[in-house]
């Protein structure tokens, strides 16, 4: 008994020590989310519009949440607008608490930027009918809740044009995350770009079943490089594959945000998010009193929500020009990506000549097209 008590006391001490250390570290970490950016014009007559943002991961230097935060910064620069954000919010119950707190604090519009925030946000939206709720990447709406996402495949297609022009071995590697339509659609759009400029080239896919595992994603890229690929594209948030390409002296295509900082010699371009136009527009609508719920916004290059990072110096002028032209076409709202004839891997026609894929076909895409090596399982 005595021995047990001794052990228990010691273990308790250890746990308390750790907790103490953790708490002192915690305060520092908490400061950042609470930080508010002050509006530029404090003398505005009406009270400022408050916009809140909820992120699934830390903002960091690159990646998905970083891209959303760049959009928030644009909102913060609007007159008479205050912004605030909370990062690293777990999907599920925790996110409901965070969103409800924001609504309680009188935020006028709240952006929840991850799929798993959908149901929590919908529940909170019911309780706060006067607050505008915006959910990213989901499918549910309400009177005062809309959802939004971007046509990333348009940017993927442009990066495919660059990759197809730059490969010498005609083997391009794609480090893929999970076999869901969003990822598959991206790979197909990328391949369409590659094949358009280089019909001989093919795109090899390796799945890691991760969103962020630098070690494994780098390994996967190395496997593709060993197979003879000389351009590496990726869907995950980590710059692991970029590192791998740089070490081998070949090229890479990034995702989410400009990854050139991680691999300046390899980075051709990246398919990136640019949330600023969408976020400033929504906040402006709230300000003007004409924001609407029950909307599903799936916007693309015409709104500037998806884009590509500046092309690297290694990309020849004629390629740059060609990509610019295609980008201008997309920016006009002419969606030239999924236009038939498109065949699947077996060579069967899935989209007939001259036909354009509709949103239903795009959103449910679960097969690879011709030119992709790999399977969707």
């Amino acid at each position: 008994m005595n021995r047990f008590l001794k052990m228990f006391a010691l273990a308790a001490c250890a746990v308390m020590l750790v907790a103490l250390a953790a708490c002192s570290g915690g305060e520092k970490a908490e400061e950042k989310p609470a930080e508010k950016t002050e509006a530029a014009a404090p003398a505005e007559e009406a009270k400022p519009i408050k916009a809140g943002f909820v992120y699934v991961s830390p903002i960091g230097d690159a990646g998905y949440s970083y891209a959303h935060d760049q959009g928030r910064k644009a909102v913060a620069e609007m007159d008479g607008v205050e912004t605030s954000f909370v990062e690293s919010v777990m999907e599920g119950a925790d996110s409901e608490r965070v969103i409800r707190n924001m609504a309680n604090d009188g935020f006028d519009i709240i952006f929840a930027t991850s799929f798993g925030y959908m149901d929590p946000m919908k529940r909170v939206a019911k309780e706060f009918p006067d607050t505008a709720f915006m959910h990213c990447s989901g499918f549910k709406t309400a009177e005062n809740m809309s959802n939004y996402f971007g046509r990333m495949y348009q940017a993927r297609y442009l990066t495919g044009l660059v990759a197809g022009s730059m490969t010498k071995s005609n083997e391009i590697g794609y480090v893929a995350a999970f076999p869901i339509p969003e990822v598959i659609r991206g790979i197909n759009a990328f391949t369409l770009g590659v094949k358009e400029v280089n019909p001989e080239a093919q795109v090899r896919v390796v799945w890691t079943k991760t969103w962020y595992d630098p070690a494994l994603e780098k390994d996967a890229a190395v496997a593709l490089l060993d197979k003879g690929c000389d351009v590496i594209a990726q869907h995950q948030d980590s710059p692991g594959p970029q590192e791998a390409a740089q070490e081998r002296g070949v090229y890479s295509v990034g995702y989410n945000s400009d990854m050139s900082g991680f691999a300046p010699k390899a980075h051709l371009t990246a398919a990136i998010w640019n949330w600023a136009p969408l976020y400033t527009e929504a906040v402006q609508q709230v300000k003007d009193g004409n924001w609407k719920g029950n909307q599903s916004l799936w916007v693309g290059m015409d709104k500037g929500v998806v884009d590509i990072a500046p092309l690297g110096d290694m990309v020849p002028e004629d390629v740059k020009k060609m990509v610019e032209e295609k980008k201008a076409e997309l920016a006009k709202g002419n969606d030239i990506v999924f236009v038939g004839p498109i065949k699947n891997q077996k060579g069967e026609v899935v989209l007939e000549e001259g036909k354009k894929a509709d949103d239903g076909q795009l959103l449910g895409m679960n097969y690879f097209i011709e030119g992709v090596v790999g399977n969707t399982e």
Binding site: R3, K6, M7, L10, A11, A14, V18, A22, G25, G26, A29, K32, S57, P58, G60, D61, A62, G63, Y66, S88, G173, P179, R204, V205, V206, W207, T208, K209, Y212, D213, P214, A215, L216, K218, D219, A220, V222, A223, L224, D226, K227, C229, D237, S238, P239, G240, E243, E247, F262, V373, G374, N375, E377
Partner: protein
Amino acid sequence: MTELIVPLLAATVQSGTPVLFATLGEMFTEKGGILNLGVEGMMSVAAFAAFVTAYMTGSPWLGFIAGGIAGMLMATLHGIVCISCLGNQVVSGLALTILGVGLTKFLGTPYIGMAAPGFDKFAFPLLSDIPVLGNIFFRHDALVYVSFIIPVLFWFFFRRTSLGMAITATGEYPQAAAAAGLKPVRLRYLAVGVGGFLVGLGGAYLSLAYTHLWTNGLSGGRGWIAVALVIFAFWRPGRAVIGAYLFGGVMAFQLRLQASGTNLPSSLLLMLPYALTIIVLVFSAFRGRGTEAPAALGTNIEPEG
């Protein structure tokens, strides 16, 4: 054919290295009779300590050492609970894993996505020119070369030094060791501490050499693989090398199989290294019948009287 095999084997050495460090660390600990299931948690904390140190000081070597020290401190916690307080080794080890993984997540989150100076690959002078073998073994980062030496030192320590034999005696029969005038408690602390240091080096490898970036969950289950490989290796350093490279090899192989455009589902392929670990474990259980383990493994030293 060599064009395919050589890069595969080179990738095998790279994937196997962190597991090799951790396996040797756990083996060292178990040689002294203490079972430490906290390897996964120790690796996480060590990876973080190594990253932060390299990030702050700009020196990857300091980071590497810091990783080892972090592993040692975590292991000492286990030592206090099990050796001094006679707590249950299994429970304490599991708690250490939960604590380590949680602590890393908590402390490490603000650093996600940041890069620290790490170890880069370089061709080892002269040895890298050996045909085939040079490409497989001597075109890595400095830590891989360090990992080549440790199994040899490990073998030498336990077979040729009196201190190593004293630790072995403590793991086999602590009462007899005590009767012979040895100090089993001190020796067990030593085994746990040095073992923790080695495990920590494995964690440091992940954040300094495998990738130079910080993220949560870097250890990715490698700690558990190490625990299993100790049993596979029958507590012998030479077999630990085989086990670690076997695991690394299957990992590297399945990615290459995917890259070559196989029709096998990727879920199945990603499972392979872990499935193999289980199979190997079952196999060694039949062969070894548990006789190879230190006899006093997992039992505490009861105080006299």
